[in-house]
Symmetry: C2
Subunit: 143 residues, 2 copies
């Protein structure tokens, strides 16, 4: 398939797909005219890449682990070197920390939400001016 269809099917922009290729994450055959031609497996691969990006990995890291994943395009491919394993372990710890941060923050949000839901309406309706000052002069009403 060509890039437009791949973009449509994965929900990833054409721009990003070209970027992935530039970073070595995605390969494409070319037609005589230079248009990219992707195999079916590209869909799964792009989804995988997106997941890893979403987890905060950098393209360089993704580049290294892609050949070590089994279902990327059917081939089990390579085995991670000890150095890579070390890097991935560090990455894993970072992910763990991030998850913990997220869980804690989610609790904070929940508490605010619940407090607001379980509370009566504000005595004075939509009166409080608590947003007009992000960049300008917040110090005057940050309370």
């Amino acid at each position: 398939m060509r890039i437009g269809e791949l973009a449509r099917r994965t929900g990833v922009s054409e721009r990003s797909l070209r970027y992935y290729e530039q970073q070595g994450l995605l390969v494409a055959r070319r037609t005589d005219g230079g248009h990219r031609e992707y195999p079916e497996a590209a869909v799964d691969r792009v989804v995988h890449i997106q997941e890893l990006f979403a987890a905060g990995l950098h393209s360089r890291t993704i580049y290294k682990i892609l050949p070590c994943m089994r279902d990327s395009d059917g081939s089990p491919s390579e085995i991670a070197t000890p150095l890579l394993v070390e890097e991935l372990t560090a990455e894993r710890e970072r992910i763990d920390r991030t998850i913990n941060d997220l869980l804690r923050s989610r609790e904070v949000l929940d508490e605010v939400i619940v407090t607001a839901s379980g509370a009566p309406s504000q005595p004075s309706p939509s009166s409080h001016p608590s947003q007009p000052s992000h960049p300008s002069q917040p110090s005057s009403e940050a309370a």
Copy 2:
């Protein structure tokens, strides 16, 4: 306390503390000479801010929810407006999605790690015939 001590005690750079103040997240009294003077409660507040930043919230959002949190500096403060609650709910969903991404990516990493640990050294290091650009610089950068 002054900014240096607060930075030391929270592990947040002075630069960031000033930025927080600029965004209205942190207030400071000033000495006659203009130096910032923080109360003890600032330490907790900065930690809170950091958590929320770590969860991917923007300063504007943090700005809005800070007064709705109870232990920020002892005062229970304000109650979230319905509009804010809606926004926080959306944020909560984003966090949930992120957590799921992270969990999935962690599994992927684990699999690669386990595969490498449970496997012998590569029998033949020639498994990668064609590489457009190498691990070091996929396009144009130097690690």
